[in-house]
């Protein structure tokens, strides 16, 4: 039996720790000003891409954390469990289509899915929602339409992305099956212990719990986003686009290469269609592989997933998304070329 107590003094941050952190940050700022690393072209490029990835993604993570906090604090326990009683054949497509009502990109859907699963929604439905929302939401569909406007493959891309995104999300949800939330979710130090404490005083006010949950989710996801953005920016700084041109037209390999490219570029699902459309040497199926796989698995998301899910489940998720996207796009290749 364990009891939850304050951390031992040796491991607890003291005033000295906070002072050291402050000094480290100030020294970093001074060092940056004095050494002017932006004079080196690749460092400047890295900082610009890194900064832009974070500045664009963090508000979405916060919106996701806000939605997750609303679910945690204001949705009564049991509400989501009622949804779980629906048959799975109905539950998974419904969860995927719920993405239509959630017009934010992939970074925001992760904390929401985590909270939905923690609060009682079937984990398979939560994962389906998480994967589908960034592909099926109206803003993404509209941006795909704009990017391919004037192309013969316009409707193949728009309808193909929606349909394939839906099918892949449902298929992965099916693979998740009846796994419980404990098998899926990585335990977090700030959750799951409070109930052990003997609290005789009344619980905190709802508004306080709301802000604490929102902050906790944001700060927890944010650190993984910073990590993912660092890797993605580094890759973007050095990756020459010409590297992949040689494999266009090689069956299956072109699909795999476009999926790999989507993984390393870590683009927002609301803009990736413009990049996909620029790969004119690749056919619609390969471009769809890029557009379906990227919003579901990339460096940035990989870091978020690692913070959210257990390692085994994360591996399974990546394999399931990759396999179903590959099979789906192979069919598109047969039908649309």
């Amino acid at each position: 039996m364990t009891d939850v107590v304050t951390a031992p003094r040796a491991r607890t941050a003291s005033g000295r720790t906070f002072a050291a952190i402050l000094v480290a940050l100030v020294l970093t700022a001074l060092l940056l000003r004095l050494s002017a690393p932006e004079r080196v072209a690749w460092i400047q490029t890295f900082f610009v891409i890194f900064g832009s990835l974070l500045i664009q993604a963090l508000p979405f993570v916060l919106i996701g954390a806000l939605a997750a906090a609303i679910i945690e604090v204001f949705v009564p326990i049991g509400t989501l469990e009622k949804l779980a009683s629906l048959p799975r054949a109905l539950q998974l497509p419904a969860a995927a289509l719920a993405g239509l009502a959630f017009p934010i990109c992939e970074c925001g859907s992760v904390p929401v899915a985590r909270r939905l699963a923690a609060k009682g929604l079937k984990p398979s439905a939560a994962v389906t929602f998480m994967l589908a929302a960034p592909v099926l939401n109206p803003v993404v569909i509209a941006s795909t339409f704009v990017a391919y406007r004037g192309r013969t493959a316009l409707w193949t891309m728009v309808i193909g992305r929606f349909t394939l995104g839906l099918l892949v999300a449902v298929a992965v949800g099916w693979v998740v099956g009846d796994r419980s939330k404990d098998e899926l979710l990585r335990p977090r130090p700030d959750e799951g212990h409070a109930h052990h404490v003997v609290e005789l005083a009344p619980p905190e006010a709802r508004w306080r719990r709301f802000f604490v949950h929102m902050g906790n989710d944001f700060l927890y996801m944010g650190r993984f986003l910073v990590l993912g953005a660092t890797i993605a920016a580094m890759v973007q700084t050095f990756l020459p686009a010409s590297v992949i041109g040689g494999v266009a037209g090689i069956p299956v390999v072109d699909l795999l290469v476009m999926m790999a490219l989507a993984f390393v570029l870590s683009l927002c699902s609301e803009s990736d269609a413009f990049i996909a459309a620029s790969f004119v040497q690749f056919g619609p199926a390969a471009q769809l592989a890029f557009l379906v796989f990227g919003p579901m698995v990339d460096f940035k998301l990989g870091a978020l997933y690692m913070g959210t899910f257990r390692k085994g489940f994360f591996r399974m998720l990546v394999i399931a998304v990759a396999a179903s996207t590959l099979v789906g796009t192979m069919w598109v290749k047969v039908i649309a070329g």
């Binding site: 951390a7 607890t12 900064g51 832009s52 664009q56 130090p189 003997v198 005083a201 990756l239 996909a276």
Partner: protein, 256 residues
């Protein structure tokens, strides 16, 4: 931020069940998290008020900056207002350093001078340069030509045909100078990035500018080129009548 708790062997039952007094104190983990949120809120307000958001985002997504600033401020204030608690959660030393690391990107953006993507990436993104920006052909066939029109025209055969009909017309473009090892001394590539959401999705529009005074313009220098356009298949040439140095535009990236 996670409010770190560390399990240790159980205390005697009597201690466990004893009623706690209800003193209030500042929770280090809530205060620490509130300060990190506040640092990010400060960055977003800074970007908004200084106009530096244009260096990272397109006009389509610039709305995330005021929204982010407001939400981060509210989240920070709300968390700090909730920071006085009966049983303050401690903050582990490792967790405190992780929170400090989360402020590092804020320090980077604030400490470094404003910068944009430049020539270094132009070569890396050259494969993207055929550009997926799809402008209606009508825009290419009539009116003042822009670098977005040029990029769009290079995407399709019809676009190339429409642009070819504009050969010999006067144009004026603003962009930065790009030179490769094999670029002749009296030429350069005029480049401009096209950003849909953020810089990470930048594609590039380029035209080859000829009839330039050798050595007059350095790589990454922003210039305004006026001259006559000659589309030659996938390459577009501008015969310069004047090239003038200009300050970097407040919006250095184009939005399709």
């Amino acid at each position: 931020m996670s409010d770190v708790v560390v399990p240790r062997p159980a205390a005697p039952a009597a201690t466990h069940a004893r009623m706690r007094p209800a003193p209030t104190g500042w929770s280090p983990s809530r205060v620490g998290g509130g300060l990190v949120l506040g640092a990010w809120a400060t960055l977003f307000w800074f970007l908004l008020l200084s106009g530096r958001d244009n260096l990272y985002l397109s006009t389509r997504t610039s709305w995330v900056v005021p929204v982010g600033a407001a939400l981060l401020s509210a989240a920070s204030l709300g968390r700090l207002a909730s920071a006085r608690v009966r049983a303050p959660e401690p903050l582990g030393r490792r967790e405190a350093w992780i929170l400090g690391a989360m402020v590092l990107p804020v320090v980077l953006v604030l400490a470094l001078p404003p910068a944009t993507l430049g020539s270094f990436s132009a070569g890396k993104r050259a494969g993207f340069a055929a550009s997926g920006v799809a402008t209606p052909l009508g825009d290419i066939g009539t009116g003042q030509l822009t670098l977005i029109d040029v990029a769009a025209a290079q995407t399709t055969k019809q676009g190339e045909t429409a642009l070819a009909k504009r050969a010999g017309e006067a144009v004026g473009f603003v962009g930065f100078v790009t030179r490769y090892a094999d670029t002749p001394a009296d030429e350069f590539l005029l480049s401009r990035y096209i950003v849909t959401c953020c810089v990470a999705d930048a594609t590039i529009a380029q035209v080859r500018v000829v009839n330039v005074t050798p050595g007059a313009f350095a790589a990454n220098q922003w210039v305004e080129v006026k001259g006559t356009i000659y589309p030659l298949g996938r390459e577009v040439i501008v015969n310069a009548s004047s090239v003038a140095s200009v300050p970097r535009p407040s919006r250095p990236y184009l939005t399709p």
